[in-house]
Symmetry: C3
C-alpha cells in the first residue's frame, strides 16, 4: 500500500462529515454544494462580511474562490481567512482567472499573503499567482508543463502552501515533495466549475489531516477516480455531471488504493 494511500482520507471525510465553509463564485455554488454532499461533507455558502468570520470559526475548513469577485466579497474572504488562521482551520485558495484583470491580480496577491493551507488552480492560474510574489523569482520558461511545475514549487516554497496544479495530469507539491496524479476524463473540463468544486473537496480532505500534502493528493485521486467511473456511463457533459455526483456518492475508499499505486508518481521537488 502506497504511503500516500487516499483511502483513509476519504474514510475520514465520510466519518466526520466536515462542515466546509465556501466563499465561492456564483457559477459554482450549487454544483460545489452537491459535490460536497455527494462526497459526504457538509457544505455551507456564507459570504456576507457581517458573518463570514464568525461562520469561518465554526467550520472544519474554509475555501475561498475569486471567480465572481466583488470588493465586498473580497473583504469577507479576508475576514474569513484570518478567522480560519486564528482558529487553526485549514483553508484553500482557488485563484480563478487570477491573471486576467488588475482587480484579480491584486485580489490574488492579497489572499496569498494571508497564508492559505493549499492553493488549487490550473497551470495558467498558478503561473500568474507565482509571478505575483508567491514565488520570489520570475517564471519565464517557454515549456508550459515545465514552467507550471517550477512555478508551483516556487509558489509552495514562497507561501508555505500545498500547491495543486490540475489538468490532464495533476501536480501537487509542498515545495519539498512533488506528486503527479493521472486519471480523470476528457469530459471533466466540459462541465463548468469542476475545478471550483474540487477546491471544496480539497478543503474537506484537509480537515483533520496530519499531512496537508497527502490530503491534497488524496482529494485529487478521489476526484479523478469518480470521474473515471462517471465516464463509463456518460453520453456527454450533461450526463457526465450527473453520473459524477453518483460516483462520488458511491466511491469506495478501498477502490482508491490500487489504481493510485499505478498512477501516482512521488518524487522530491526539483
Amino acid at each position: 500500500m502506497h504511503s500516500l494511500d487516499p483511502a483513509p482520507h476519504l474514510a475520514r471525510v465520510r466519518r466526520t462529515t466536515p462542515l466546509v465553509h465556501n466563499i465561492t463564485n456564483h457559477v459554482a455554488m450549487n454544483f460545489m454544494a452537491n459535490v460536497l454532499l455527494a462526497l459526504g461533507a457538509s457544505p455551507a455558502m456564507v459570504h456576507a462580511r457581517e458573518e463570514a468570520a464568525e461562520f469561518a470559526s465554526l467550520a472544519a475548513a474554509l475555501t475561498v474562490n475569486i471567480g465572481t469577485l466583488s470588493p465586498h466579497w473580497l473583504d469577507a474572504m479576508d475576514d474569513a481567512a484570518r478567522a480560519a488562521n486564528d482558529a487553526g482551520t485549514p483553508w484553500v485558495l482557488d485563484p480563478v482567472a487570477v491573471g486576467a484583470t488588475r482587480f484579480r491580480r491584486e485580489a490574488g496577491a492579497r489572499l496569498l499573503a494571508l497564508g492559505p493551507t493549499a492553493i488549487r488552480g490550473n497551470a495558467s492560474e498558478i503561473l500568474a499567482l507565482a509571478d505575483q510574489g508567491g514565488g520570489g523569482r520570475g517564471v519565464d520558461s517557454t515549456d508550459s508543463a515545465d514552467s507550471a511545475e517550477r512555478a508551483a514549487v516556487a509558489l509552495a516554497r514562497g507561501s508555505g502552501a500545498v500547491v495543486a496544479v490540475t489538468g490532464e495530469v495533476d501536480l501537487v507539491t509542498d515545495g519539498r515533495r512533488l506528486a503527479r496524479v493521472a486519471g480523470g476524463h476528457a469530459l471533466m473540463p466540459r462541465v463548468t466549475t469542476m475545478g471550483c468544486a474540487l477546491s471544496g473537496v480539497v478543503g474537506a480532505f484537509l480537515s483533520g489531516a496530519e499531512d496537508p500534502f497527502a490530503a491534497t493528493v488524496a482529494a485529487l485521486a478521489a476526484y479523478a477516480a469518480a470521474g473515471e467511473v462517471a465516464a463509463e456511463s456518460a453520453a456527454g457533459p450533461g450526463s457526465f455531471a450527473v453520473a459524477f455526483l453518483d460516483a462520488l456518492y458511491g466511491l469506495d475508499p478501498a477502490r482508491l488504493t490500487i489504481p493510485l499505486a499505478d498512477r501516482l508518481e512521488l518524487t522530491d521537488a526539483p
Copy 2:
C-alpha cells in the same frame, strides 16, 4: 378521502400557474426555479431593493430565504414582505441556519415580526427561531423530536404562521392542529437546496388556498411523493435530483390521495 387531501391543491397549482416571487439564496436559485417549473408554477427571482416590493405586489406568492444573506437583500426582503402583506399575498419564511450567527438571528427575528403566512425549516432552525421570540417561552427539552414539536406549536401560536418542520417525518402545525407527513427518501438531504426549493413549493400551494395549514400539508405530501418516485430510478444524488424534477412534472394529483391517508396523522396540537 381525507379532509387534508392534497390532490385538489396540486390541481389548483397546475390550473393557475401561480407566479411565485422568490428572494432566495444563490445556491438554491436554479434548482428552486426548476422545481417550481416542473411542478407547474411560474418562478421569478427578484431581489434588488429598487424593485422587490413592486414585484412582490404582482406575484401570487412570495418566499424569503436567508441562506446567503446580505444587508441589502435583507432590506429587500423586508420591503417585499410588507408589500405582500399589503396585497394580501401569502409569503413563506425559510430561516436557513438561523441560529448560526448573530446576523442570522437578527434577520430571522426581523422577518418573523413581519408575519409570514408559513415558516419552513429543519428542526434546528425552528428551535432557534422559536427561541428568538416567536414562541414566548423557552425550548429546553432534551428530546429533540419532542422539543421541535413544542417549538413549532409555540412558534405557530406566537407568530400566527403555519409552521412546517421538515425531516424524516415532516410536522406541520398552525398552533391548533398538528399533522405528520411521512414519506420522501434518504437521498433527499444529499441534494443541496431540496429544502429551500420546498419552501417555494409551499408558496405555490398557498396561493389561492383557503386553509394555509391544509395547503402546507399538501405541498409536503406532494414533495414526498415525488421523492419516492424519483428514488425508484436513482443511483445516487445526481440522478435522484434529475428524476425528482421529472417526478414532480409527472405527478398525478390522483396518486397523492391514497398514500396520504396512510401516512398522514392529524391531531390537535398539544
Copy 3:
C-alpha cells in the same frame, strides 16, 4: 443548401472556442456556462465594475442579461457594453421581464441606447422594449403574434440590432429580412434559463460572423435541433436538461443543414 445554412456557423464556434463574457442573472449562470461549454465555447462570468470593462475587451463576445439586476451590476453592464463597442466586439442584450417594473424599464432603455448587436427575448419582452423607444411608434395590435413581429421589426430598425423573438416558432429580423425558425420542444420552457442560455449561444455565434442576422438564425436553429434530440430520450424537464447538454455537445454541423431548409422561412420584413 440554404443561404442561411447554420452548419458553418456551428463549425466556426467549435473551431475558434470563443471566450464569451456574460453578465447574467444568478439563476442562469451555471446552466448557461454548461450550455456554452457543451457547445464548444468558453464562458466566463465577470460582473464587478472593477473589472467588467477590462474583461469585456478581452472577450470574443459579451452578453448582458437583466434577470436579477442590481444598480451596481447595471453600471458594470454599461461599462462592459461600452468596452465591447470600443473593441468592435459583438454583444447581446437579454431584457428579462423588462416590462415588469420601473427599474427594469429604465435599465432596458439604458442598455438599448448603447447599441447591442443582437437582442433576444420572448414576445412580451420585445413588445415592452420596443415600446420604450427602440421602435419609434406604439405597439397596440391585439394580435400578439402579429404585434410581436411588428415590434421586432420596429425595434431592429430603431436600434440597428438583430432582434430575435423566441417562442414556439422563433422570429429573427434585422429590420430588412425576417426569418422564422420552427423546431424545439414543449419541454424547453419547463427548464429554467433555457432562454438566457440561448442568449449566450447567440453571443458565441456572433463572434467572427460576417452577417449577425445569419449568425443569430444559426444559433436558434442549432438550439432547436439540440432540443429535438434531447426530447427523444427525456422523461420530463430534469432529464431533458441533461440530455440537452449532451445533444449540444454531440451536435453535428452537417445535421443542421437539411432540417433547416424545411423549417426556416425567410422573407422581407414588412
